[in-house]
């Protein structure tokens, strides 16, 4: 019955209640939806990076990361490559030659990371073959073919079929240079990647180095996201002399862990709720003052103070939950709509692609964030009601009934 009375009480001043319900609904709609956008952006950026370059797990010579020196290649990589390929939860593996070098066009030069791949095997690990804008993904297998990014092509003022020269320090400290023909131009979500990475055929680059077993990187895809950590820990035990890292460790630009992202987003909602708290307190406070006489009568006829306190807290919870439920429902629906159609930020893509954010991404909000939201709304409602409820139970019934 107290629940019923509380529910009816919040509708005694319809206008006032509707204002605070609307404010709560709009505040949470905006907050929750923008959180879903942030999560969607974050996840799709990571997905893009995984598909573009990272894969799930990478194996290197432990010193390779320091300076990316040509000589820090993986020893015995043939054996290791085939051992990893036969692991249970490994879906696909690719070996890469990675060289820090220079690319020269008739007009310009630029520092690049030269990635030597086997196009057929690489296809199973990353998606560069799906990002070709012009030309092809090593279709003709001609010697000394190269894929370069759109950005880099612009900077070097070169086109498809132009010739460029790659130059790098060989194993014997001597400079190695060779001419390559551009057979494809790619464009990924990340302009930085497009500007700093070029792909060549493994056989070509190994021939230039003069050693056919110089592989610096083994990129691995696990069968599922959940298996990544298992595979990683298994491999790091098995190859304790090598560095085995998952995508998290490989991409410091995603410095923020998922938990930290969620924490940050929850704090954002917390700030919105904190602002709403004052509005709710004000609404409840006004309704307590208006009803002072009635509350005095309740105390006089024998309603215990704790019950009166609870009644006012329940009023606040009902008020907040009505607004909260509407806001969350609106947010849920908009999230569903946009997670189906995708959010197209292509108008801003120039700005975001610096950070590797895909032009279209899909907002999403995990269930636990909805649950936590409910808990936060409850706490806000209780906090908002606390002071007015305290005022109510401190009423002197004789004075309240006489004066009002």
């Amino acid at each position: 019955m107290i629940l019923q009375i509380a529910w009816k009480n919040i509708w005694r001043n319809k206008k006032r209640s509707l204002i605070i319900i609307t404010a709560t609904a709009l505040g949470l709609w905006g907050g929750v939806f923008s959180n879903a956008v942030m999560i969607g952006m974050w996840e799709s950026t990571i997905d893009a990076a995984i598909n573009r370059e990272l894969s799930h797990i990478q194996v290197h010579h432990p010193k390779f990361k320091d300076e990316k020196l040509l000589k820090d290649y993986i020893p015995n990589s043939d054996l290791i490559f085939s051992l990893i390929k036969n692991e249970n939860d490994v879906k696909s593996v690719s070996r890469r030659v990675i060289i820090e070098g220079m690319i020269l066009s008739p007009t310009s030069t630029s520092g690049v990371e030269i990635v030597g791949i086997n196009p057929i095997i690489e296809k199973n690990v990353t998606e560069i073959h799906n990002r070709i804008l012009e030309g092809s993904y090593f279709k003709d297998r001609r010697n000394n073919s190269i894929l370069i990014g759109e950005r880099l092509a612009k900077r070097l003022k070169v086109k498809l079929n132009s010739k460029v020269v790659l130059s790098f320090q060989g194993l014997e400290e001597s400079l190695v240079s060779a001419a390559f023909r551009i057979v494809g131009i790619f464009k990924t979500e990340s302009t930085v990647f497009d500007e700093t990475n070029v792909f060549v055929l493994q056989d070509d680059i190994l021939q230039l180095i003069g050693n056919s077993s110089v592989f610096h990187e083994i990129a691995i895809r696990a069968r599922s996201i959940e298996k990544i950590d298992t595979v990683k820990s298994y491999l790091s035990i098995k190859f304790s002399n090598l560095s085995v890292e998952s995508w998290r460790e490989l991409a410091p630009e995603f410095g923020l862990t998922q938990d930290m992202l969620y924490l940050e987003l929850n704090i954002f909602i917390g700030i919105i709720l904190f602002a709403l708290l004052f509005g709710i307190t004000n609404t409840i406070m006004m309704s307590v003052f208006e009803r002072a006489r009635e509350l005095g009568v309740l105390l006089a006829i024998g309603m215990k103070r704790i019950r009166l306190f609870i009644m006012i807290v329940i009023e606040s919870i009902l008020l907040s939950f009505t607004g909260g439920a509407i806001g969350t429902l609106l947010a849920f629906l908009t999230i569903q709509i946009f997670s189906f159609y995708g959010l197209n930020f292509s108008a801003f893509t120039e700005g975001f692609s610096m950070y590797g954010v895909p032009a279209i991404f899909y907002p999403e909000l995990p269930l636990h964030m909805y649950i936590f939201l409910g808990i936060m709304i409850t706490f806000t409602a209780i906090a908002a009601a606390f002071y007015p409820a305290l005022k109510a139970i401190k009423l002197n019934p004789a004075a309240a009934i006489r004066t009002y």
Binding site: M1, I5, K8, N9, R12, R293, E294, V297, L298, L299, A300, I301, G302, M303, K304, R305, R307, N396, P397, A398, I401, R402
Partner: protein, 235 residues
């Protein structure tokens, strides 16, 4: 036996600027089954006295004993519980919870007493019947006349099965005909259920209906008279 016993009661309202000596050395005993009017001009201390008896306010000095228990020693929550169990209240107006129907208002006090749902409904019907409002069960206070609202308030006061009912100017907001019929009702309940009523009024017609009239003047008892039984028999 004394139901209500007041000994040397003083009440001084201490405001910052002035202090008002609202009750001065009041001694009064009210027995079970009595039908007592506290009368006197406005400002004579009627409300203050009823508030003291009802435990809604604390005396400055003196004692209020209800069923031989001194209520001024109770802690606030004990006092609320004591009121719930022992005293039925009817105020001048706006007694009822506006969002509840007549029946729900009566049930509410029994809910506070943790009476079972079945029993609550049964008693609410009986009482609404007794106050002549069996056709207004599902009406909200705003849909009832002033007199009907006071009847529901009386029904609610009885629903908690109190030792006595305190009514502070229950007829003040009613026209004289309605006031008469509320008095009829109170008299009937006093008679049928031996329910003790203590009510205040300054209306001569209402005063005539009481069997005992305690007159206050300036915070003191000026007279305390038992009227003969004729008035009741005539009505």
């Amino acid at each position: 036996m004394s139901l209500i016993e007041i000994q040397g009661l003083n009440k001084i309202y201490d405001e910052t600027t002035v202090s008002v000596h609202a009750l001065k050395r009041i001694d009064l005993i009210i027995n079970k089954g009595e039908f007592t009017a506290i009368v006197g001009p406005s400002g004579s201390g009627k409300t203050t006295l009823l508030n003291m008896i009802g435990g809604l306010d604390k005396p400055t000095s003196g004692k209020v004993l209800i069923n031989e228990k001194e209520i001024s020693t109770f802690k606030p929550d004990e006092l609320i519980d004591f009121r719930l169990k022992n005293i039925g209240f009817v105020f001048q107006a706006f007694n009822l919870i506006p969002v509840l129907t007549a029946k729900e208002n009566i049930e509410f006090i029994m809910l506070l007493q943790k009476v079972s749902k079945e029993e609550r409904e049964k008693r609410a019907f009986e009482l609404l019947n007794a106050v002549g409002l069996s056709d207004k069960i599902n009406n909200r206070p705003s849909e009832l006349s002033g007199g009907q609202q006071q009847r529901v308030a009386v029904a609610r006061a009885l629903a908690s099965k109190p030792s006595f009912v305190l009514a502070d100017e229950p007829t003040a907001n009613l026209d004289s005909e309605t006031a008469e019929s509320l008095l009829d009702l109170m008299e009937k309940l006093n008679h049928e259920y031996q329910m003790t009523f203590v009510f205040s009024t300054h209306d001569a017609k209402v005063i005539k209906r009481a069997r005992r009239v305690v007159t206050l003047e300036d915070g003191k008892i000026k007279s305390d008279i038992y009227q003969n039984e004729k008035s009741r028999i005539n009505s």
